[in-house]
Structure formats: structure tokens, C-alpha cells
Symmetry: C2
Subunit: 490 residues, 2 copies
């Protein structure tokens, strides 16, 4: 396994004049080839950078997306969907040139069906905007990756976050989609019913497909009732092992945790530096309980007993909504706070997820590897799911450190795969994890490629991401295959 440089020998190309004319006629000022607009879509929240796309478009409707895709299909020009640009694996970068499809203008909450606990939204609606819209309904959308990402982007990357342990990921909370295919066809997947056995689960196929199979232009989301009662707490442990063991025991006990988050001693230090808190510089768990007044009291008491038995101390309960908001703002700010540990650095974020029985070993192994490398790398985790991240901080332009960080990330991925885990719990594949897909999926990766080819034969949708360039099986005899990662021998 290796991390190839995904941008090597990939250069942007000029757009065909007929396509420029067509998009200009269709979109007017919402089609731009200006350097400033293009540069804004060449960066991401992580260290991944792309060449600027050849143009940016801002469609207003599924029909416009359809026209754009039809035109780009005709000219074999790549199209890269863009939500809010908060992805961490370079998903929305134009690594093979083409046109960035910025969906931020499609930001309407189309319908809230409170009686069915569902909302239909356009893809550019952010999760915070939806939850603001829902305030009057006593409902909320539970998936919370921290960033105020667009719901279309969250679906495209199968995002999750702190509340997945209770409410699931985007896989569990998207009921139906409207999708525009590469050839411009507009389809609907799923229904408004709670379940269906009517054929292939196309909704689940498009969720997590990272813009490589189609462009999501509408989502039907499952909502949750605001819990009658909420309580949250933070507590400290003497050792990383004790904190992670506490998670395992808690999850096995069946307590329906709404959140159970781990932060290591270094992250606690980062919070203190960044937010002026005065947490002990020890591993912590941050937890939340949702339910009736009785059940929250009972769940919190049971968790308290387990945690105390595992040596937890310094319980700090957040009882008011303001205190809870502060607690989770701190946790969600971990990515930015970590830079306080090494101002001016850039970060490489890891994202493995392992079965619960291997969590303690996986986190301890990662911590030891990071310590041995000499890099600064705080660890946080959605540990109720077995998912944890390290943020490896390196000096900009320091290639030795970047190589060290990538080697650490690779080692964590290998450890995760060795125990039946996954290379990415929630951040997705994008550019950063593509080199590991064959290691996780084996022949299954070729199957993903075959599906991609069936739905996007010209390969215009977000090329260079997620699927292999050549979906042929390994015994494909093509002697002069042009695919850079052709799996054929020789």
C-alpha cells in the first residue's frame, strides 16, 4: 500500500469554445472563468490543494444541473460538485480539471413534513440552516459532523460525527434523493415511507458516492423529535486506556448514549490554549444523554457509576443549554484548537474506524506510533462507533514531516484493516484515501468501478476520485491500457 501523489501529471485544460458558449447562454453571470472564482475552488479545509478548475458554475435548479451535465457529457469535460468545501480529503478539488458545480445557491428548505418527521431540502442547505428552520417544530436533524457542511455534501461523503452513536450516519438519515446523472437524466431514489423492499437501494448507493455517480439535487431527510430532556458532562481519566475502556463498557451496557467523545491529554491542552479553559491535561470523555427526564437521570447515573469505577474524576455537568452549547462548541473546535499546539503548522487528519473490541489497542497503538515519530498529533474520537482521528501537525513545506505523517496514517489504516476495520469512518475517500481502496475492498473496488462505468461511461463526474481508473478485472488482457492504475500485470 502507498499514498501516490494524486496530482502528479494532472493538468487543467482549456474548455471547448462551444461549451463556453452554451454555459454562458444558460447561466450568464452564474458561469465564471475568472481566476478569483476558480482559485476559491482550488483550496480545501485540509492540506489537499488542487489546480483551479477551468470554470465555476452556480446552478439554481435540477433542470440547470441537468443541462450543464448534458453539455459537459457532450464535450467530455469533468464536473466536480462542490457544497461548502469543508471536506477533509480533497473530494471537491478539480484534480483533473473541468468545471466546479457550486451548489450553494440551491439552498432552500423545500418542505418540512412534521407529521412524518421528514424534511425535503436542496443540497446547498447547511445542517445549521436546516436546524434553525426546524426550531418551531420540536424536531431536529441529528447528524453533526462539526463543520457547518451542506446536506448534499454530507450525503455525498456519508458524513456522521458526534451523534452517530445514537442516530446513525447519513446512510441512516437520508430517505430519498433526487439525482442528476452524467447524461442529464433526473431520477428519484427512495420514497417517503419508513422502509421499502422495492429493488436496489439506489439511495444508499448515491450516499457516499462522492459526486462520482450523479449530482444530488434534492434530499428527503429523516428528522428526530427534540428530546424531552438533555444532559451532558465531561470527565477526566488518568490514562488513555481507562478512558477508552470506559467507552467499551458503556456501549456494552446498552446505555443509549447520544454522544460519547474521547479527547486525549494533548487535545485538552489545545482547548486550554485556544479557548482559555482550564481542563486538567488528561484524557477526557465528553458525553450526552437524550430522553425523558426519568431515562436521562437513569442513563446518566449508570454512566457515572461505570466511569467512576474506571477511575474518572472531575465530573462537570452541563445542565443549561448554554453550557452544553459551549461544551460541544469546544469539542467541534478541536480541529482548529489543535493548531494552537504548533502555531503556523498544517494538519494531516486520520480517520480509521475499528470494531469496538479493538478500539483500545488501536488508539494506544496510534498514540505510541505518533510519540515515536516525534510529531505532535492530538487524538480525538467518536469512540462509541470505534472511530478516532489524529491531527498530525507539520511545518508547511516540510516534506520529511509530511512523509512521516503519511507513514503514520498508513500504519493506522493497516492496523484498522488487520482487525476488520475501515480506512475511513466518516471523512470519505476523495484524493487522500484512494490509494488504500484496493487494500480495503480487494476485488470489490473493481465492482465499484464497474458500477461507475455503467452510470457514467465517459467518466465526467468527479474523475480521479474513489473508483479505480480502470474497472476491468485483473485478468483483463488489454496490453496498452492507458489507465494510470491499470491492475493488469505488466
Amino acid at each position: 500500500m502507498s499514498f501516490p501523489d494524486p496530482l502528479a501529471s494532472e493538468q487543467a485544460q482549456a474548455l471547448p469554445p462551444a461549451l463556453v458558449t452554451a454555459l454562458d447562454a444558460l447561466l450568464g453571470a452564474r458561469f465564471s472563468q475568472k481566476r478569483g472564482d476558480r482559485d476559491q475552488h482550488a483550496a480545501s479545509e485540509s492540506f489537499h490543494r488542487g489546480p483551479p478548475p477551468d470554470a465555476v458554475v452556480w446552478p439554481d435548479s435540477a433542470e440547470e444541473v441537468s443541462s450543464i451535465l448534458r453539455a459537459c457529457s457532450q464535450h467530455a469535460v469533468p464536473v466536480i460538485p462542490w457544497g461548502t468545501g469543508t471536506s477533509l480529503e480533497g473530494h471537491a478539488l478539480a484534480s483533473r480539471g473541468g468545471i466546479t458545480l457550486n451548489l450553494s445557491r440551491m439552498d432552500r428548505v423545500l418542505e418540512v413534513r412534521a407529521a412524518d418527521m421528514q424534511a425535503s431540502v436542496q443540497p446547498g442547505v447547511t445542517r445549521e440552516a436546516l436546524n434553525t428552520d426546524l426550531r418551531a417544530t420540536e424536531l431536529f436533524f441529528p447528524v453533526d459532523p462539526g463543520a457547518n457542511a451542506s446536506l448534499g455534501g454530507m450525503a455525498a461523503t456519508r458524513a456522521s460525527g458526534t451523534t452517530a452513536v445514537r442516530y446513525g450516519t447519513m446512510r441512516d438519515n437520508v430517505l430519498a434523493l433526487q439525482v442528476v446523472l452524467a447524461d442529464g437524466r433526473i431520477i428519484r431514489t427512495g420514497t417517503r415511507a419508513a422502509k421499502s423492499s422495492a429493488g436496489y437501494d439506489l439511495t444508499a448507493l448515491f450516499v457516499g458516492s462522492e459526486g462520482t455517480l450523479g449530482v444530488i439535487t434534492e434530499l428527503t431527510l429523516r428528522l428526530q423529535g427534540q428530546p424531552e430532556e438533555t444532559a451532558a458532562a465531561v470527565c477526566a481519566f488518568d490514562t488513555l486506556q481507562a478512558a477508552v475502556d470506559c467507552v467499551t463498557v458503556t456501549i456494552h451496557s446498552g446505555i443509549p448514549m447520544a454522544r460519547i467523545e474521547f479527547v486525549d491529554a494533548l487535545t485538552a491542552r489545545a482547548f486550554n490554549l485556544h479557548s482559555g479553559t482550564s481542563l486538567p491535561e488528561l484524557p477526557h470523555l465528553m458525553v450526552e444523554f437524550h430522553g425523558s427526564a426519568t431515562s436521562v437521570r437513569e442513563d446518566a447515573a449508570r454512566f457515572g457509576e461505570i466511569a467512576t469505577e474506571m477511575g474518572a474524576a472531575g465530573f462537570d455537568w452541563a445542565t443549561t443549554p448554554e453550557d452544553r452549547a459551549r461544551l460541544w462548541r469546544m469539542r467541534h473546535g478541536a480541529y482548529h484548537a489543535a493548531f494552537a499546539l504548533r502555531p503556523g503548522s498544517v494538519g494531516v487528519v486520520t480517520d480509521v474506524c475499528v470494531p469496538m473490541s479493538h478500539l483500545a489497542d488501536a488508539v494506544a497503538g496510534a498514540a505510541q506510533d505518533i510519540a515515536a515519530s516525534g510529531l505532535v498529533g492530538p487524538i480525538v474520537g467518536h469512540v462509541g462507533d470505534g472511530n478516532f482521528h489524529s491531527l498530525l501537525l507539520i511545518d508547511p513545506g516540510n516534506e520529511r514531516q509530511m512523509a512521516q505523517a503519511k507513514a503514520l496514517a498508513l500504519r493506522m489504516a493497516e492496523r484498522a484493516l488487520a482487525v476488520g476495520g475501515t480506512i475511513t469512518g466518516e471523512h470519505g475517500v476523495g484524493l487522500g484515501k484512494r490509494g488504500l481502496m484496493a487494500a480495503e475492498h480487494g476485488e470489490g473496488w473493481q465492482v465499484m468501478g464497474a458500477i461507475k462505468t455503467a452510470l457514467d461511461p465517459a467518466g465526467i463526474l468527479n474523475p480521479g476520485k474513489l473508483v479505480p481508473d480502470c474497472p476491468a478485472p485483473p485478468d483483463c488482457p488489454a496490453p496498452d491500457c492507458p489507465a494510470p492504475d491499470c491492475p493488469a500485470p505488466g
Copy 2:
């Protein structure tokens, strides 16, 4: 929309001698062309009947399944996977001839990983066998369609049942699969981690694919902890409307129901006739609560208040495990009990699922239509999901009644689609619902066909089921398309 006769002009053909020789060498006595073996695989639990397959094979391993599929691919002979034959839509019938792949010998529980709350099983393990195996672990597998189906078959049809309202369907409870593709390749999908964002969700694609994309040869299942406390009850309502309204209010209240089942007055009568019970001949709800002693008490009390307010009477609590087993045996026996209402009849089962806000109207509309038809058709439902069934009882061979039953089923499906529901909540497509797939999915049905063609280009896997015969888009110009349901104009 119409229900075409799926067996019209479809005849079994003789097997190529080279294939017979190959399968005989591979499987010996586990390859049979005997009339008795073939006839056993021409029947189903429902009114659907198929021609007998040309042969039956009983593989022992994924490797044997792979060899069988490679050989059948080579000879373009259909392969139809078979679990326990309890499907209700004719999924496992050899409607276009070929070889039935009976997976009942692959019936080992491979591993129970209690610490991860997971089990790995072969596809022929039945859900009851798995739960028997799990008794010592304090864990259980929650999906319960009533029939003691094989877990491979349950995954293939995306089965659910009485507990889906709490624990989800097979979609939610299958973490990973081993699948043999049409060309014999053996792939693994998913991981043992609780979640993953590593590419297309192939697990979700194969779950519900009804043997048309691959043969499931191993499943990794999510298990649940046995609840500390369980309570169940049955209560009667004066009207169907009151019972269904009670469900809607209960679900909205957020009470985490473990089961909430509706049976109508006619079904209560069937239970009395069949099981010697003395239920009032009124609509009933049957409910179950799982949790801690405190939460079960609280949930049961809250439900009791809601139900009483909606006019429920005759609450009968099942407090011992024996009483609960009797209650759910009765509910699961509804399909067989119903025949007591009209001994000697055959049944046509419907299976729509609608958004909760439309449930009361959908059930009332179905009841009115059945009453107007003059047919006997009791209604039961997993109403917490918006899913309900009628069992339309007709005289064997009475074509007028069969046409009436199909017209009623069609009307229910149309009503469900009109409110954003689905033509099948849990029984799947098989032969019975294929004629309605275009109405539910539109162009999405062609997308399913394109995926099918990508993974099974020769179309040997369970042909004539689920997908269109021709996956081309409607503007396909082929003038002499041989597909019986070619969507091209003219």
C-alpha cells in the same frame, strides 16, 4: 400500471450436456435433475408457482458456488438462489428455467463476536437457529419477519417484520457480506466497523437485490443486547381508525416501541377460529416494550395513557416469557390463521408502506375497497413503520376472484405511490411486483437495470425478476429489441 402474467411464454429448457457433466463432477449427489427435487423448488408459500427448475444444486461452500456460477455463466444458464422458500413474491422460482441453487447446507454460524455484538453466518442459517445459538451470550438478532427464513434470503429481500420499528430492517442489520458474482469472482463488502465512508455501499446494494446481482455466501450481522426487561400487551379498539390513530400518536410521542402491530376485526376472528382464543372481534394493537425496568414501566404507562385516551379497552398484559411467546406466535401465525376464515382458499398478500401521516387513510381506503369487492381480506400491519398487509382469500382456480384480488392490490399500490409510499415495504419485488417497478421508480428502474448489466452482463442471475429486461434509456433507438418489456416507443 398492470400486473402482467410473469410466467407467460416462459418455458424450461434442457441443460447443456457439458454443464451437466461439470456439475456432476463437482457436486455428485448434490446435483440433481430428479423430478421430485425439481418439483420441490417449483412451489412457494404464496400463490406464485413456477415451472420446476432444470436442476437443483446444494453447494457446501463459497468456492463451490463460484465454480457453479462460472460454469453456468459459460453456458448462459440461469441460476436462482433459494433459501427456505418462504418468500411471498415468487423470488426463488425458476420462471425462466435454469438451476436452483439451494443454500440450505451452508448453515453454519461461523463466529459470534460478543464483544463486538456481531455474528458471521452462512446464508442458510435461519433466524431461529441463530437466536438459539446466541442464547448463552445475552445477545439476539432482532429482525423478525415471522417465517423462520434463512438469513441469506432475508438479506436478499431486505426483510423486516414486527421489530423493524425499533431495530430496523435487514438494511440496518447487515454490516458486511461475502458475495459470489455471476462470473464466479468472490468479493467481500463492508467491514466489521460500525460505520465506514470508504466508497460505494456495496453491502446496501446487495441487500435487497434478490439474487439478481450475486449470491450471498456469508453475512456479518449486527446483534442486540437482550433487553433487561420486556413487557407486551394486546388491547382492542372500537374502530380501525382509532387503532391506527393510536399508532400515529404513539410514534410521534417518541416512545421507543419494540413492536406495535395492528390486526383488524377479521384477523381477531381468524385467531379465535384458528387458535381457540376469545378475542373480541374488534381491531387490536399488539405492543412490546424493551429496556430497563424503569424505562419499560415508563414507556408502557405512557402508551397505556395514549391508548386509553383513544378508546382502547381490554388491556391484556403478557408478563411471562411464555405469555409473550404465545402472543407473538399468534401474531406471526396470522397468515395461516386467516385461511380459517375461508378454508381451502388461496391468498394474495399485499404489502404497501406509506408515510405515517397517510397511514390511517391508506388502511381505511384498503378496508373499504376490500369490503366493496366482496372478497374476504383481513388486514394486519407493522404499523409503526406505515407498513400493512391484506390477505385476500380466493377460491383456487377462480380467475374472476384472482383478477379482483390483483385489482385490489394494484389499487393499494397506486394509493401508496400517490402519497409518496412504496409498492412493497418488506416482501420485495420477485415476480409479483415487477410490473409496478416503473411506476414507483420511473427512470430509476432503468438505472437498476444498468447496474444489473454491469455486474451480470449475460443476465444469468435470477432472470425475469426485479430489473427490466432491457436497461436502455427510453430513447434507445434499437428497432428490433428482443426484450419483452422494451421501453422504446413502437
